[in-house]
């Protein structure tokens, strides 16, 4: 993954809490911080700020049906994640990510490897 200073350059104007979560994950590699980064990014791209932090939602929360996230938004989030964490997420994987839990688990697995 890229250093926090580079992440800040790639995400100009993004919320400070996302950048802080990224710095925390960079330093400690805690899954909780990874979730704060990923779901903080998603929350920032939603029409309105969510009522509660997305990373606190149950893992069964459906990205499309429950959060009303369209496929282009998911592709945009994945594009950013790929940049930050130096990952490659295939189209097949992208289509298979249905819930917040799917996304969390996939990224944890990828980054653990």
């Amino acid at each position: 993954m890229i250093p926090p200073s580079e992440a800040a350059e790639k995400l100009p104007g993004y919320p400070e809490e996302v950048l802080q979560a990224y710095a925390d994950y960079y330093r400690e590699r805690r899954s909780h911080d990874l979730d704060r980064v990923v779901f903080g990014l998603i929350a920032f791209l939603l029409p309105e700020p969510p009522e509660r932090p997305l990373h606190e939602l149950p893992d069964s929360t459906d990205l499309r049906a429950d959060l009303q996230i369209d496929s282009i938004t998911i592709a945009e989030v994945v594009f950013i994640i790929e940049d930050l964490f130096d990952l490659k997420i295939s189209n097949d994987t992208l289509m298979s990510l249905q819930t917040t839990g799917d996304l969390k688990n996939h990224l944890r697995k990828e980054l653990a490897g």
């Binding site: 029409p47 592709a75 945009e76 594009f79």
Partner: protein
């Protein structure tokens, strides 16, 4: 029988004002929107020293979270992500025009309402997206790169934002684009295919959009707020501008039925092409002359009926003379018709120019005045026979023309009438 068309809403994000009152004040008092720009700091031979910059907005960053726009607009942030920088101008101008027209969401998102837009897209974002793709040998590209940068970007974004259900189309004919958009929007209503049309012209004001015109030697290398001086002997190229202007067109019957305020009537239009050159106007102005003749015929008017002509004149040596000859031919028996090019104040808005000047023409009809030819110190002898007022005049009639010309020799003339005539 063709249906009548009314203009019921106007929205402005321009170099001379971001609301109707400011634009009117600028036109009446010849207040220029042209300001110094420094897109290549430190360059010894900077080709662009001035532009018609847009006040109250800052969209200079490629990153949408950094954009600044007036607090009066409440924009959904998910809508910003796929916008080009000029898209935010377009969104704000359209919200303003829809409010001016007094339209509810259900009237906007209706099968009876369509949207025609014109812009050159976003060369700035296009360059960024293609650079990412190039740097990764094709492996990496932003998912919103296409919809935020290609020339249909306004249709995609505004169509989705306003949930447009009628016609949704982009128009590309360079600097005649948004005149074509107004014209074909008029046709949609006249024919009964739509009851209401939203017409948007927009452009960016940045190096990527404007500096390529310097390579064509089309931009003025001059500095100062009067660098744009149509019909003047000093003119040496156009000064670019951008922003957005939106017009709401409706069938007059529908507008009356909902007691809408009519800003002007759109009475006809005409087009014709030069058949001459990829970018240079035909010297004798034949194409534009025929466009004006076709417009007059479409509106069933004679040259003598016209009380004002908002000229295309961009302040280029060849173009202004070409238009002068076209005007001399069509108005040979009415040489006193007042003519002015408001590009002296605004700059030349490229694809947006037609919408901007159509709206300016409507504003002048509504306010019963003719804007002067600003920055005219020494008229070009070749243009001397034109009546170029150097101070605002009272409007002496009901009808006005707005001319536009674009690359490839496209010429469009729009005809408007005072709403209260």
């Amino acid at each position: 029988m063709q249906r009548e068309v009314a203009v019921t809403g106007l929205g402005w994000v321009t170099s001379i004002g971001c609301d109707g009152a400011s634009v009117l004040h600028s036109l009446r008092h010849s207040r220029s929107g042209i300001r110094p720009v420094d897109w290549f700091p430190g360059a010894e031979d900077n080709p662009v020293k001035v532009a018609g910059t847009v006040p109250e907005f800052d969209v200079s960053s490629h990153a949408w979270p950094l954009w600044k726009y007036p607090g009066q607009y409440t924009l959904r942030r998910d809508a910003l992500r796929s916008l080009p920088p000029h898209g935010i101008y377009a969104l704000c101008a359209t919200l303003q025009a829809l409010e001016d027209a007094g339209l509810a969401e259900s009237e906007i998102s209706s099968p009876r309402t369509g949207l025609f837009c014109a812009s050159a897209g976003s060369p700035m974002l296009m360059r960024r997206h293609l650079s990412q793709i190039d740097a990764s040998s094709g492996a990496r590209g932003h998912p919103l790169g296409v919809v935020s940068s290609i020339s249909g970007t306004l249709n995609f974004n505004l169509g989705a934002y306003f949930k447009i259900k009628g016609a949704n189309m982009g128009v590309v004919s360079a600097c005649a684009s948004s005149s074509h958009a107004v014209a074909y929007a008029m046709e949609e209503i006249r024919s009964g295919r739509q009851e209401r049309m939203i017409v948007v012209g927009a452009e960016e004001v940045n190096a990527e959009t404007l500096v390529p015109f310097a390579a064509m030697r089309a931009l003025s290398p001059s500095a100062g707020p009067d660098a744009s001086c149509p019909f003047d002997r000093r003119r040496d190229g156009f000064v670019g501008t951008g922003g957005a202007v939106t017009l709401i067109l409706e069938s007059t019957a529908l507008a009356h039925s909902r007691s809408a305020r009519l800003r002007a009537l759109a009475r006809g239009w005409g087009q014709a092409s030069d058949g001459h050159n990829i970018a240079i106007s035909r010297e004798d102005g034949d194409g534009l002359a025929r466009a004006m003749e076709n417009a007059l015929a479409d509106a069933a008017l004679a040259p003598r009926d016209i009380a004002y002509i908002n000229a295309h004149a961009t302040s280029t040596p060849v173009g202004d003379l070409s238009e002068t000859r076209a005007l001399a031919r069509v108005f040979a028996d009415h040489p006193d018709v007042p003519v002015s090019s408001t590009k002296a104040l605004t700059g030349h808005a490229l694809s947006m120019a037609g919408a901007l000047e159509a709206a300016v023409t409507c504003l002048c009809l509504e306010d019963s005045f003719i804007p002067p030819q600003a920055h005219l110190r020494e008229p070009d002898p070749g243009c001397a026979k034109l009546h170029l007022p150097t101070a605002p005049l009272a409007l002496g009639g009901e009808y006005a023309l707005s001319n536009s010309s674009g690359f490839g020799g496209s010429n469009v003339t729009l005809v408007f009438r005072r709403a209260d005539a």
